[in-house]
């Protein structure tokens, strides 16, 4: 079966229309424009539905995402109550003891970040929830926001309480209209019931959340470009240092956390830091959401304990359909790295992925069988980075172009000065981008391409 694409249908005007449509066909779009209803969201992509050991996904598909009462009936707001009992210092201690690290891709220790902001004398402090989930192949945060929106808001409130923030911004990508509507609805209910606003739950702590919507630029998910965008400017990353914990949004100390990172905090606070760390490995504690897509029998969002192998995850998802051989797995998305069929015993942990020369990133596991035209896929990735580079710094702005051009020559079988020369050129440009780009986009834009050349037999002499 050919996979059908999804699309965002948006019409401006007095009665704006905004609907995500999947699968999208010309007829479906015309019907929408004529006032028809959007097709219902495709059947749940949570293949582990009902698995009792789920932590992050435990309420998704079970509790009504539109009802704060149902959320509370399923354990909602118990963590915030417990956080108030612990006090800010207590929450910081538990988060540090949990060894939770960020799930957005960079894997920075959350407790360290929170403590750094909490200790800053400058006021106010800001909290930014990074929901600009734009890494190609990532859809886990959407699952959380659409399926358990109150959990995101409760977790933001706990983070704000621990770090002394009075205001939070939830920066959501524009292509997620349903998630935004559910979150807006949830925010209104939380405010109405006293879980946001002046003196949350009567505890004297005031906090509120504002939603800001991205306009489709990949770069706006970068942790400092997101500030520029929220401040109303062109989304361009800032040079670091100073780091956001010192000089962030509106020049003030700021916590930026990914949606999944924040939702993890609920479990940390409800249990304890050490008990959270009992799941997973020494360096990667807790569970991780993985986004399985491509040639797997059951694609979707999976929650796994850190430490299981890639093979186990592929088996869980039913393996490559049609009995075809596996050709490669792209880990971490366009900014990630490839693994080959011989790497299936790599443990899925931050340290395990690093040792294998790739990254877990935001949790993308894109599976490719032998029908995939790998060089074409690499060209698509190179084109993506050329389009999504913000254009600010030279290594990324021009380097992405030169890599795309070199790749085109290789694919056309017209290498300038031989394949080896072209591969060396790609590597040199890549090194400059990694070393000298301003932000993570430029620093990782070349990773997938270079890992394919290193690991897979894409071009003559590569993958050896």
């Amino acid at each position: 079966m050919r996979p059908s694409p999804a699309a965002l249908v948006a019409v401006a005007g007095e009665q704006p229309l905004e609907r995500a449509q999947a699968p999208v066909t010309a007829a479906a779009v015309l019907d929408l424009l004529a006032g028809g209803e959007a097709a219902p969201s495709p059947a749940s992509s949570l293949p582990q539905d009902g698995e009792p050991r789920l932590r992050l996904l435990r309420r998704v598909g079970i509790a009504d995402p539109d009802s704060i009462d149902d959320y509370r009936a399923h354990g909602g707001y118990a963590a915030l109550r417990h956080a108030f009992a612990l006090g800010p210092e207590g929450v910081l201690r538990e988060v540090k003891d949990s060894k939770l690290v960020g799930r957005g891709g960079a894997a920075f220790p959350t407790g360290v970040k929170w403590e750094a902001v909490a200790r800053q004398p400058a006021r106010p402090h800001y909290l930014v929830c990074n929901a600009d989930e734009s890494e190609p192949g990532t859809f886990k945060d959407r699952e959380l926001m659409e399926g358990d929106p109150f959990a995101v808001i409760e977790a933001m409130t706990i983070a704000a309480f621990a770090t002394g923030c009075e205001r939070g911004y939830l920066y959501i990508r524009g292509e997620y209209p349903e998630a935004r509507e559910r979150l807006e609805h949830a925010l209104a209910q939380a405010r109405h019931r006293g879980f946001l606003g002046e003196s949350v739950m009567g505890e004297g702590f005031s906090f509120d959340v504002e939603i800001r919507r991205g306009a489709g630029a990949y770069i706006c998910g970068e942790e400092t470009a997101i500030f520029e965008s929220i401040e109303g400017r062109r989304g361009e990353p800032r040079n670091k240092p100073p780091f956001p914990v010192e000089v962030g949004l509106f020049g003030k100390p700021t916590v930026v956390n990914n949606v999944e990172t924040l939702v993890n905090v609920l479990g940390v606070v409800l249990g304890s830091g050490p008990s959270f760390a009992e799941v997973g490995t020494e360096g990667s504690t807790g569970t991780k959401l993985l986004c399985l897509s491509g040639h797997v029998a059951r694609p979707g969002t999976y929650e796994i304990a850190f430490g299981v192998t890639l093979r186990q995850v592929l088996d869980l998802a039913g393996g490559v359909p049609g009995g075809r051989p596996l050709r490669a797995v792209l880990m971490g998305g366009a900014a990630g790295g490839f693994l080959g069929p011989g790497d299936l015993d790599v443990p899925l942990t931050f340290e395990g992925a690093r040792a294998a020369g790739t990254t877990l990133g935001s949790g993308v596991v894109l599976v490719l069988d032998d029908t995939v035209d790998l060089p074409r896929l690499l060209q698509r990735i190179a084109a993506f980075f050329r389009d999504e580079s913000c254009g600010q710094c030279v290594p990324c702005r021009v380097g992405t172009v030169r890599q795309e051009e070199a790749l085109a020559r290789l694919v056309a079988g017209e290498p300038r000065g031989g394949v080896e020369t072209e591969l060396a050129l790609i590597a040199e440009v890549g090194q400059c981008m990694r070393d000298s780009s301003i932000c993570g986009l430029g620093q990782t834009a070349s990773s997938a391409l270079e890992s394919a050349i290193r690991r897979l037999p894409v071009f003559e002499g590569s993958g050896t």
Binding site: G216, A217, I219, R234, N239, P241, Q379, A383, R386, D387, E388, S389, C390, G391, Q392, C393, V394, P395, R397, V398, G399, T400, V401, R402, E404, E405, A406, L407, A408, R409, A412, E414, R416, G417, L425, E428, V429, Q431, C432, R434, D435, S436, S437, I438, Q443
Partner: protein, 304 residues
């Protein structure tokens, strides 16, 4: 009061094995200059906050995963910096090659020296692609797939839409200096900004309108800060086009602007007894190199 009398604090760091002391708040570039280590810079403007976008001034800092821009990175006590390591040389060389292969650097005074110093071979990316006349209409996030036979460039026709200055964006390295000078750092006019994304990023007026229809007030302070000759006086542009621009024959006469009581310093650049451009010293306390339309362009009565 005591704070006002306290001496400024110093920090000591090490650059290329040599110890150096600089005032707190100084940059690594300041430290390099103190040691007379010649550090290439392109986007760095003496009168502006560092934009740190060209990345040609990067240095290796021990303990840092990536190279750091010396123009903006503050010096800290105990830093160990290397300005000529293999990594630094490779990055500087690549930045210069990437720029020289995509931009016309023929009027960037420092370019030739830098390219030679770092053995840059911009030609290895292939022959330059033909000029484009629709860069202003490039759709963000869309580009035609390249065939790799030529190297994409920013070559485009020069914009001549007014009597006072021209914009030759084929020479633009996107250093952001003009944007910063027009905007919040000097002029507060905000007539120009960066439009588009990635390789399509470009300096543009609002909706790419010609200058006379834009918010431009013709102060010419963007010309003053432009390091590449992308922004030049119309007189300079025409002389260059005719092959008559002879910088070595030009004299510079310092005088004071007569138009108002501020009394800005002017430097009149004269060739064959004609004023060909007007500047103000960048190190002047009052102007920082800035003027207004009258001081910058109001000189024709002197010679006609």
């Amino acid at each position: 009061m005591s704070e006002l009398l306290a001496p400024r604090r110093m920090v000591e760091l090490e650059v290329d094995g040599q110890p150096v002391r600089v005032f707190e708040g100084s940059t690594i570039l300041d430290a390099c200059r103190r040691l007379e280590i010649d550090t290439p810079t392109l986007c760095y403007g003496e009168t502006l906050e560092p934009a740190n976008v060209c990345r040609v001034c990067v240095v290796e800092l021990e303990g840092s995963r990536v190279l750091v821009p010396s123009c903006s990175r503050k010096a800290e006590a105990g830093m160990k910096v290397h300005t000529d390591s293999e990594r630094v040389r490779l990055s500087r060389k690549l930045v210069l090659e990437l720029l020289a292969s995509s931009v016309d650097l023929s009027t960037t005074p420092v370019a030739a020296g830098y390219l030679e110093r770092y053995d840059a071979e911009p030609g290895r990316f292939g022959p330059p692609a033909p000029p484009s006349d629709d860069r202003d209409r490039a759709r963000t996030g869309h580009h035609e797939a390249p065939d790799g036979r030529t190297a994409a460039t920013v070559q485009q026709p020069v914009k001549v839409d007014n009597e006072l200055y021209v914009r030759d964006y084929a020479k633009c390295i996107l250093c952001y200096r003009c944007v910063d000078a027009c905007g919040e750092q000097h002029q507060n006019t905000f007539a120009i900004a960066v439009a588009g994304r990635g390789f399509d990023a470009r300096i543009s007026t609002e909706l790419a309108t010609p200058l006379p229809e834009s918010a431009c007030v013709y102060c010419g302070n963007c010309i003053e800060v432009c390091p590449t000759g992308a922004l030049v006086f119309r007189s300079e542009h025409e002389l260059r086009a005719a092959g008559d621009w002879r910088e070595e024959e030009q004299t510079v006469t310092e005088t004071t602007c007569p138009y108002c009581g501020v009394g800005c310093s002017l430097e009149l650049h004269v060739q064959s007894n004609r004023i060909v451009k007007v500047t103000s010293p960048a190190d002047h306390d009052i102007t920082l190199g800035n003027l207004c339309i009258k001081g910058r362009f109001g000189f024709s009565h002197v010679q006609d």
